[in-house]
């Protein structure tokens, strides 16, 4: 069986309560799920011996600006065994800007989630060390949000005195 069919079949069999839809674009598979299921699904994808998604390549987000569910958190995971890359997507609202951390599943997600928090202001529950990564700790804004001006907010980043 091909890996894509195996993947969807396995999730249906083993995790019957997880709602998901799949999108295939240019032979890349994306799975769209609810944010409450993210840790459960990730743990399954990693631990299942046939799937073995053992590498979390990237965690990032999309700001849709005017959409009802404003953010989408995107995970790119890779299975070295199957040489297959999978994309997971979860919608997050602006009012409840939180999602569970997958750093307990893949340790490398720790810094990737920190970067997403720094740039988009999405909080990751149960994250071991959710600090800013690129911007100074006292910075109040999130630069990759669509409402952040390109030239920044004057005076928000302190410069040393002349």
């Amino acid at each position: 069986m091909e890996i894509k069919e195996l993947l969807t079949q396995k999730i249906k069999d083993k995790l019957p309560d997880v709602q998901f839809t799949t999108v295939e674009f240019r032979s890349e598979l994306s799975i769209i799920i609810n944010k409450k299921d993210i840790v459960k699904l990730c743990l399954f994808l990693k631990d299942d011996p046939d799937l073995a998604f053992n590498f979390c390549e990237d965690v990032t987000a999309i700001d849709w600006a005017r959409r009802n569910q404003r953010f989408t958190v995107v995970y790119h995971i890779f299975s070295m065994k199957n040489k297959f890359r999978l994309r997971l997507k979860c919608d997050v609202e602006e009012d409840d800007c939180k999602i569970d951390s997958v750093s307990s599943v893949w340790k490398t997600a720790d810094w990737e989630e920190r970067e997403t928090y720094d740039m988009y202001g999405i909080h990751f529950n149960n994250h071991p060390d959710l600090r800013r990564m690129f911007m100074p700790e006292e910075f109040e804004f999130y630069p990759l949000r669509k409402d952040f001006p390109l030239m920044g907010i004057p005076g928000s980043l302190p410069l040393p005195k002349k």
Binding site: F134, F148, M151, G152, L159, P160, K162
Partner: protein
């Protein structure tokens, strides 16, 4: 050289302390290579035998700020890096000079963005701005010659009575 002939004739010559100090100073400018991004590659090329900054007495790139006279800020200075650049500049002993090398350092360059300082003259006193992205090594030599001209015109009294306000020591009773 005219100097040897002069010494053979009379064995002495008259000059001012200012002139001799400025002459010595300008021919031994020790740079602090503040190489932050791609301009640093051109700064390294200046040190190699083809361009050879040693011809101008500045081949001693010191990696401690305490032995430097000239800071070559070569690269994009972000707001986070600005504090580091300033800290290193503060550790350099007076008198000291600054070259803003390249478009990013002088004006933010192509990084017209929230995270890049739009010109290091917002927090450092810059002596020479150097155009180019990155500038050619000969251009950096030109900037060094301009700094040398500036040092050659300086007087000892220009550097006096600078209050030491950089790192005040607080003693609690």
């Amino acid at each position: 050289m005219g100097l040897e002939a002069k010494l053979n004739q009379d064995s002495f010559f008259t000059t001012t302390i200012d002139a001799i100090a400025a002459w010595a100073r300008k021919n031994s400018v020790w740079p602090m290579p503040m190489g932050i991004s791609c301009c640093a590659i051109e700064m390294m090329a200046v040190g190699d035998p083809k361009y050879d900054i040693a011809r101008f007495g500045s081949e001693v790139m010191r990696f401690t700020p305490r032995q430097c006279d000239l800071m070559i800020v070569a690269g994009t200075v972000t707001y986070k890096m600005a504090h580091v650049v300033k800290k290193i500049y503060d550790q350099m002993p007076d008198p000291k000079w600054v070259i803003a090398m390249g478009a990013c350092t002088s004006s933010g360059g192509m990084y017209r963005s929230y995270n890049v300082v739009q010109g290091i003259d917002q927090f450092l006193p810059v002596d020479v701005y150097l155009a180019g992205c990155p500038p050619r090594p000969d251009n950096l030599l030109n900037a060094l010659i301009m700094i040398q001209d500036k040092i050659g015109k300086s007087k000892a009294r220009d550097f006096q009575d600078e209050p030491l306000t950089e790192y005040p020591i607080h003693i609690k009773n």
